[in-house]
């Protein structure tokens, strides 16, 4: 399968009175159809690594290749554009926009992209939510959804623009075991059934065990 994301000796430091190294010399490649679990103790730099892969943060050293293209020369607009078209984020605490219903949340990235007309966007959102077993929750506000439901809405939103790369930061962190299983299955299916590249940060050893590969980080370094 094609390469989706590749990090080459990426280091991210925060300058300041006490300089902090969040990620140091990380090299990592994820292909389409592959699910990589990122594990490590709290504060080890897992989220930081994910932000670098998602072009939300810029490396202090090293390079990030997205879909075979070097992103070093990207400006703010190009990085936003790349996130919009090729990357889907899922966060630990689902982060739905509270003023929008489940369906409207899923529609947002498509509306920003502007590639489809309104009716198509609504229909696509329905299909995505339906595929995650949420057809009845479509018009509910985020506050009326359970944690597991919200997380699946967030996944649907991440998939709205059909991204090549999905980055999930502890998507099961706040869920009970049943809901967690459900989300795990969904995330794995993104790689194995839909052919996307998936990086998922998790503390759950069972979840990590189901991934194709496991990457362990300690103190910002990827362990061999």
């Amino acid at each position: 399968m094609a390469e989706a994301i590749r990090l080459e000796h990426v280091t991210r430091r925060l300058e300041g009175e006490v300089p902090v190294t969040l990620v140091s010399d990380a090299s990592l490649r994820i292909d389409g159809g592959e699910c990589v679990a990122i594990t490590g103790p709290s504060g080890s730099g897992k989220s930081s690594l994910l932000y670098l892969m998602g072009l939300l943060d810029l490396p202090s050293e090293g390079r990030v290749w997205l879909g075979g293209a070097d992103t070093a020369g990207y400006g703010e607009v190009e990085r936003s554009e790349a996130r919009l078209r090729t990357i889907g984020f899922v966060f630990q605490s689902h982060f739905l926009l509270p003023e929008f219903s489940a369906c409207e949340n899923v529609m947002l990235p498509m509306r920003r992209l502007g590639a489809y007309d309104d009716a198509t966007i609504r229909e696509r959102a329905r299909v995505l939510l339906g595929g995650l077993g949420l057809e009845d929750q479509r018009d509910k506000g985020p506050r009326q959804l359970s944690g597991g439901q919200s997380q699946r809405v967030a996944i649907a939103r991440a998939l709205a623009n059909d991204p090549m790369l999905v980055l999930a930061d502890e998507p099961t962190g706040n869920l009970d075991s049943v809901a967690s299983r459900n989300v795990q299955r969904t995330v794995l299916a993104l790689a194995h059934e839909q052919g996307r590249a998936v990086a998922v940060v998790t503390h759950d050893p069972d979840f990590a065990a189901q991934a194709d590969r496991r990457v362990r980080i300690v103190d910002g370094r990827i362990q061999p």
Binding site: R83, F89, F95, L97, P98, E99, L108, R111, R157
Partner: protein, 415 residues
């Protein structure tokens, strides 16, 4: 795209309903005050200028020179320092000489109407009462073209002066004070001592009491003979098709005829500058109301920006650009501004309609006056535009801050 940003903006505001309504009220009050006060000030200003332009000549040529005539020696040596002692200027008969030629010259300009007037002081006596009046010698048919006096005739007519050289037209206030009525005979004594009896053939009412009580129109020939100035006049009254051209036109005429030629702008310079100062004060005051409203908008949008850090980060992660975020919060300002404008203009119209009903008497006027309100589109565009501008400036600062939010900073803190 814009629709999406406006949609997000609207929902953010609706989620903070009470705060949004308070800031909206600020705009509504600001716009309505601005609109009604500005319309009232502009209206009265236009009213004043209108009266000035309408009821008075646009240009008058007076029997006077702007600069004293130079002595021959000064004319010979214009650059020399000349001092002459004990010069007694030659006594001359006052008046505009050769006025027929001047009138001919003036009337060659298209759109220009001119009429010769000889005015002087006189004493009116009737039934033992005496009053000083201004006597206006006119050729009625010509004068009617440069004056609005015909419009104010309440009895009789001005034109009868042509047929009846012994007729006089006076103001109704003078008639009331001297217990005169149509057809009465009024004795007029001129400053040269001549006394004549005139028959009242018309009454006018302009509403300006000094004019209504102190002005009388008589045939020009009669005044000329009463003042011992045959074939002389002392004023040429001019109306132009375009009153705004008066200043340049006056300069051109003065250049040619040498007599002091005064445009209405020059005559009313004090008034015009007073009006300008009044406008500055007024706009400063209503502007202050809008500044307060702008603070309200700034306040609500700043709050939203602070509360929505997480949402901003999520939108950025989703692929929204910094510019989109800025646009979203500018849209909030635009929304408050636009909705505030709609209600503000509505309320402003109500206030303006209310102001129009207020009536009062001004000193020097015998009529009931209403506030003049300027209902022109310009007022609405101005009030709406200024409010919109204030809203956008108020939104701009928090919007810039929102655009600068680094999503990773928020996410690191949040997760």
């Amino acid at each position: 795209m814009i629709r999406l940003l406006v949609d997000v903006a609207a929902r953010h505001l609706l989620a903070r309903r009470r705060q949004s309504i308070v800031s909206l009220l600020g705009v509504v009050l600001g716009v309505s005050f601005f609109l009604s006060i500005s319309a009232m000030m502009r209206g009265s200003e236009q009213d004043i200028i209108h009266r000035l332009v309408d009821n008075a000549p646009h240009i008058t040529i007076e029997d006077d020179y702007r600069n004293p005539t130079l002595q021959p020696v000064s004319q010979l040596f214009p650059d020399a320092a000349v001092q002459l002692r004990h010069v007694v200027p030659q006594t001359e008969t006052r008046g505009i000489r050769g006025y027929a030629q001047i009138l001919d010259f003036l009337r060659r300009t298209p759109g220009l109407r001119a009429s010769a007037v000889l005015s002087g002081q006189a004493l009116a006596s009737f039934a033992g009462k005496d009053r000083a009046i201004g006597l206006y010698g006119i050729v009625a048919s010509e004068y009617a073209q440069v004056s609005t006096i015909r419009r104010y005739m309440v009895r009789g007519s001005l034109d009868e002066l042509e047929a009846n050289p012994n007729g006089i037209v006076i103001g109704d206030e003078l008639a009331r004070r001297m217990s005169l009525s149509m057809g009465d005979n009024l004795r007029i004594a001129s400053t040269t001592g001549q006394v004549r009896t005139f028959k009242i053939i018309g009454l006018f009412h302009t509403g300006r009491s000094d004019f209504d009580a102190g002005q009388a129109f008589v045939a020009l020939k009669r005044v000329q003979s009463m003042l011992d100035r045959p074939n002389r006049i002392n004023t040429i009254v001019i109306k132009l098709a375009d009153p705004n051209a008066a200043r340049t036109e006056a300069a051109r005429i003065e250049q040619r005829v040498r007599y002091k030629t005064v445009s209405w702008q020059e005559r009313s310079e004090d008034l015009m500058s007073a009006l300008a100062i009044r406008s500055v004060i007024m706009y400063a005051v209503v502007g202050a109301v809008l500044v307060v409203a702008a603070f309200g908008i700034y306040n609500v949008i700043s709050t939203v920006v602070l509360e929505k850090q997480r949402d901003i980060a999520i939108l950025r992660a989703m692929g929204f650009q910094a510019r989109d975020i800025e646009g979203m919060f500018l849209a909030q300002g635009a929304l408050i501004g636009a909705v505030g404008n709609v209600f503000g203009i509505g309320l402003g119209c109500g206030l303006m309609a209310g102001l129009m009903r207020i009536h009062f008497r001004v000193p020097g006027s015998t009529d009931v006056n209403y506030l003049a309100i300027d209902w022109s589109l310009f007022q609405f565009v101005l009030a709406g535009g200024v409010a919109m501008l204030a809203a956008m400036i108020a939104a701009y600062l928090p919007a810039r801050r929102a655009a600068k939010v680094e999503p990773v900073d928020v996410l690191r803190g949040g997760t």
